[in-house]
Point group: none
Chain length 204, copies 4
């Protein structure tokens, strides 16, 4: 009895996955605005009503999507944040983790980041990511590896550059382009843009 219950839950979970994939391909084909329950159902090969055995409704399904995309992104990043590495090393590792995630989930990202979903995802993702980044910049200042500047703002900047990585993916960039972007980003992050500080414009 217990076993059969467990099995049932397992089957349900797999079904949610299947539906999730179907929904992905629907968004792929018809855009996020074209994601209707009917289409999802018929893509899975299920009747419309059956979806409601696995999801409470459309918004539940969307929530599942979101989790699916976002959690595997945060997991390695939060792990990196917890290590004993120096701040610059953490930043670089995070950059690489993001890059790996971006490459791996290219499809999903193209789906959401390019779509209208982007706003929702970003809304949830940004504060969480900023918190992590700010902490790292604080650490960097504390340990003397990063220039002492408002760490929250530094986190924002880094976040902005990170976001562009996903835009690049959403645009359909090739892997080597992504690679190069990350390299440039690391380099510029560390060395700045200008040839030499003395070239800096005086503030007006």
């Amino acid at each position: 009895m217990r076993l059969s219950k467990a099995r049932k839950e397992c089957v349900t979970a797999m079904m949610r996955d299947t539906i999730f994939e179907a929904a992905s391909s629907v968004v792929d084909k018809h855009g996020t605005a074209g994601l209707t329950m009917d289409r999802v159902a018929s893509t899975v090969g299920l009747a419309t009503g059956s979806l409601y055995n696995y999801f409470d409704g459309k918004s539940d399904l969307l929530q599942f999507f979101y989790t699916r995309l976002v959690e595997p992104f945060f997991q390695p990043i939060e792990e990196i944040a917890r290590t004993e590495l120096s701040a610059p090393q953490k930043l670089e590792r995070i950059l690489h983790a993001a890059w790996e995630h971006a490459v791996k989930y290219k499809g999903l990202i193209r789906l959401f980041v390019a779509g209208d979903q982007r706003a929702a995802i970003r809304r949830d993702t940004r504060p969480r990511l900023l918190r992590i980044l700010t902490a790292i910049f604080k650490q960097g200042i504390r340990e003397g590896t990063l220039v002492p500047r408002n760490p929250a703002h530094m986190g924002r900047m880094f976040h902005g550059c990170l976001s562009e990585l996903f835009d690049l993916v959403a645009e359909g960039a090739r892997n080597d382009e992504l690679n190069e972007y990350v390299a440039v980003l690391i380099d510029a992050t560390i060395k700045g843009f200008s040839i030499r500080p003395e070239n800096a414009p005086e503030s007006n």
Copy 2:
């Protein structure tokens, strides 16, 4: 006769403004997905059909919104791009122009950038902005004021940092926070993040 015609046009223009504001408050309350013609109309205190005296349809209304927000942003930026300034100077000026725009249109930005509209706006805005920034980075490399790195990527990074400025506004940041962010951004852009290059992590 002429005068009355002019007056009429003026009234129409004001009405568009009124509707625009109503629509803003609708988005505020119900999100962009909840922006329906009916709601807008009833917010203005008009019948649904009356909206169509001022806008050709929903997409026209949206277009108006967009123009309202985006064009005054690009105008000074494109002007700066056309000047004879050095690349770093241009970047700084652009940053300041963006900051001014962000402060001035705080409400609008909060509306759109925070909302789902963001995706649409960004979709149109980003390529245009990237083109400008890339050109500036190219110029910087040519004139020897900026480190020679793939200018498209540098443009992207800068764009990412710029985007965060608007996110900051959308979050409801105070003016002095914005100010500080811009200052930090300029500083970090020029000098980089690290205390010294030798602190840079070795790539793994």
Copy 3:
């Protein structure tokens, strides 16, 4: 006082004509489904509401259209019917009158007969025309000039052939084509289709 009243009525009548013409050109441009009060008004150079000073509403306007097209058609035909001519002569005269009307009102006919209005017009026109034609066929039988066959049916046939004349106009046929059609119609009406009766098929 009286005079000014008469003058006013006259002005009103002229206005109705003007509106009528405007409406015609609207139908011309946008099809009958595209005949809206707004368009009519703006074509006349009048405000929408002003139309209602001259017509009680859209249906009144349409009624006016109809009368305008149909009455000048029936007038000569009814006159011909009242003469002392023989039935075949009357038929021929009617045919010519119809032809003249068709050529003269080519525009209007193309407007209505080709449009969806056709049904309405035909609905009103047919019984009236059939009554006239039936009477003529009765007369022809009485006077021995037409083959004695159910005059109502003969009227119908003649009416059917007549209708085609207007279809021809609606198709945009040239005058000489119309001419030829009438000639053929007269000829066939009198002589029949077959070379000789003995070629007639035996009823199955």
Copy 4:
């Protein structure tokens, strides 16, 4: 499984029929201009949206109507046209086929031919029918069974007479009246209207 699928299709087809009939009665009551999806739905006893399970949209529904009425009319006629019969025989057969169709589909015809739909149907039907008739008249001239006159015009005349048959039906004529009309038509077609050609009026 297969069976149930077949059954489903059958049920769908029946539903289309039911909707079709409901739509007919709506047209009956409110005229073709009053044929709205809402009214059709509520006549069937369905929600508005449910119609769209059976038809892609209003135009699809209308198309169904049209096909329903027109195709069974053309089928026998085109078959007759393909036979080796003489032209007069073909004409007579066509006449009978039309008569049969008219009697069989009395209801439909009353619906559409009497309504505003007529224009639309006729618009599609006429050229197709004229092509067939013209070919037959050409054949008749070639084989010497029909008087050599512009075959296109002769086709038009015949078409006009044929149309009247349907008007007769639309008027609610009894079968024997229709019968008589066809008989008269055949007779007159072959023999002409006049007692003798010498009674023909001289053209003025």
